[in-house]
Amino acid sequence: MTDQSTTNASKSAQGVRAGSMMLALTPWCIAAVALLVLPFIFTANSAITIMNQMAITIIFALAYNMLLGQGGMLSFGHAVYAGVGGFACMHIINNDAFFSQLPLPLLPIFGGLFGMGLAMIVGSFSTRKAGTVFAMISLGVGELIAACSVIIVAFFGGEEGISGDRTYGLPFLGVEFLQQIEVYYLIAVWLMLSAALMYLYSRTPLGRMANAVRDNPERAEFLGYSARWVRFYSFVASGFFAGIAGALFAINYEILTEENLNTTQSGIILLVTFLGGVGFFFGPILGAIVFTLVQTVLSLQTELWGFYLGIVFVVTVMFFPGGLAGLIMMHVPAMRLGKLSVLALPYLRTLGAGFVGCLGAAALIEMVFHVRHASVGDHEMTVYWTTFDSHTVLPWVLAIAATVVGFWIARATAPSLAAAWSEANTADGGQP
């Protein structure tokens, strides 16, 4: 597997040199080592639970990006493929006779197959058109299956969902998966495997044609490819990996419910993928990591996390359609020129000030919310680990000052940042 990924990552089959092999392998090695070491740094079970959640979201987001980023298909109901894969696995877990003969680490294959099966059925009619028609069919099918989950109790278990016990599987090398850490490594292996497979897929003829069909379906048809079948295969492949994510969810949480299927979940995966950036393979990975942290950690800090997330999302769509990955990759030309350091100081000035402004604005939002919604007489609130009385003037003055001054400095220094930017992206010879 490693050998393959090397050669594929390198652009030319003729020019496989040791150097480029190393270069292409490096991110994968770093990822593998990080996955191996992380549990020794964050030892708490809850940290491992969060990391598991992150890994599952990464697989799901990568699968979603096979559609959105690589195939140009916007789905509003992709959760159902992960969900159905997960539900199927839960039924397998509950089938004692079969499950006791099946090592748990093989279970995700079944999840993938079920996700793929459903994708084949739906894809047979939904992939005929891309664009709005595809988006609407995906929404309709998503709503239908989600609604079925409370009606078809035999399979979906109603609103309680269905649960089982993963430890009844055939022990795998003596491991029964009693502890979270064992599950972590199972998920980590599947994460590496799925990510590598999805990456390799994008390098196959079909993967390349998915891009071609996304950019110009008509031209692709005149190259001998049916745009519809290319979309169909992308859709099915995406369904397969979504199913794997669903199966891992089943293993990790040992319960699946309606929330694994509903449109909220589908919306979240769109949000995750887009925030991370649809243009690059690693975009959804970033998105999944950041989103999981925001959801589990920021939501402990503030009730308004959804509000902030909404703002960030809308701002991303409007100003940074490349997402986080796009932002990072913007700096590659400057890095190639070795002039990244030119940007450091202007960044510190403008973004630092902007950051202070954001903190001030967030504090203002929190204070407004507290004054408006806290129970009468409850004047005490805590922002940034500081507790104060929200009905006194000082905190308001401070917050407003931070906001105004922060944004003002950011605005005032923006031109110098722009200048530094063009300077950093200009080769020293003078030509752009």
């Binding site: 664009g131 609407m136 069919i137 009606i151 035999a154 308004l304």
Partner: protein, 318 residues
């Protein structure tokens, strides 16, 4: 028989309400080629603004002012949001409106909290207009029918009988030509977007007291509105009207009559498996029409999209 009449009226109210939302949405679609996911959010804003205004100035001022405010906000969204995202293509536009829908819901919760607002219709309409076989038809419903029909006729009149309407219609089809003729097409687009969202605002103002004013109200109605215009044919005003009424009546009648899947299956010659509670098909056999009434529009939409992808009244697929 009486009950059929009552249900016809109820379905009409639901359908016309849907129409007020779908009319604006379909206009916006034919103009910009993008489905505004946040359309129902403007409906929700209409209800909340009207509630806030009604506290100070009463229901009627709410009916007057709230749609205006919503329309201005809609125009602002077009001017400063959509127009910017437009350059990236249709998919980012759709994603933008999706994000906007999320944001508006959060915003409403931020301002008004999560509970349902005690938003009531005007006292003057709190009486029973008439009753059919013991079923009272509240005057407020008659008022809703009246308002929506008036809006439909007004819209039709503006679009087909006035100079502004003609420019709009021309701008929808030949934006370049109309621009060359000296009309400010971006302004027209912004105006249409504003009017479309204001219509959604009106729907919110008059539906808020009946269907409840709460943060989930956009979500509950949102996807049904898409379904409506997809069934009717994207961009077709008549299609939106027919599909709205169709959905209004289908859902009303399937709730009002207990059609059971068991009877249906038996008619087709299937035998009920015994014992039923142990059969994997038990859920299928026990389905009744009220249970699935609200998902029937989705079934209809998927079927329509499979067999007639451009909808009932759509002009070919774009």
């Amino acid at each position: 028989m009486d009950l059929i009449l009552v249900n016809l009226i109820d379905g009409l109210v639901t359908g016309l309400l849907l129409f007020m939302l779908s009319a604006g949405l379909t206009l916006i679609f034919s103009m910009m080629g993008v489905l505004n996911f946040a359309h129902a959010s403007f409906y929700m804003l209409g209800a909340y603004f009207a509630f806030q205004i009604s506290l100070a100035l009463g229901f009627w001022m709410g009916l007057l002012i709230a749609p205006l405010v919503v329309g201005v906000m809609g125009a602002g969204v077009e001017r400063y949001g959509l127009r910017r995202v437009h350059q990236y293509g249709h998919v980012p536009e759709l994603i933008f409106t999706f994000g906007l829908a999320l944001l508006i819901e959060e915003l409403v919760q931020f301002i008004w909290g999560k509970n349902q607002m005690p938003y009531e219709g005007p006292d003057i309409l709190q009486f029973t207009a008439f009753a059919i076989a013991g079923n009272s038809i509240p005057a407020y419903k008659i008022f809703m029918i009246f308002i929506s029909v008036a809006i439909f006729i007004g819209l039709l009149w503006v679009l087909t009988r006035t100079r502004v309407g003609m420019i709009i219609q021309a701008a929808l089809t030949y934006p370049k030509t109309v621009e060359a003729l000296g009309h400010n097409v971006p302004l027209i687009f912004m105006g249409v977007f504003g009017v479309g969202t204001a219509l959604a605002g009106v729907a919110g103002v008059i539906a808020g007291p009946v269907l409840g004013t709460f943060p989930g109200m956009a979500f509950v109605l949102g996807s049904i509105v898409f379904v409506t215009i997809v069934i009717g044919g994207l961009g077709s005003l008549w299609g939106a009207l027919v599909a709205s009424l169709l959905i209004g009546w289908i859902t009303t009648f399937s709730k009002a009559y207990n059609l059971r899947m068991e009877d249906l299956l038996t008619t087709f010659g299937f035998t009920k498996p015994e014992p039923i509670w142990d059969s994997p098909w038990r859920d299928l056999w026990s389905i009744t029409s009220p249970q699935i009434a609200d998902i029937l529009p989705y079934v209809l939409m998927v079927l329509i999209l499979i067999f007639r992808p451009y909808g009932l009244f759509g002009k070919r697929d774009a």
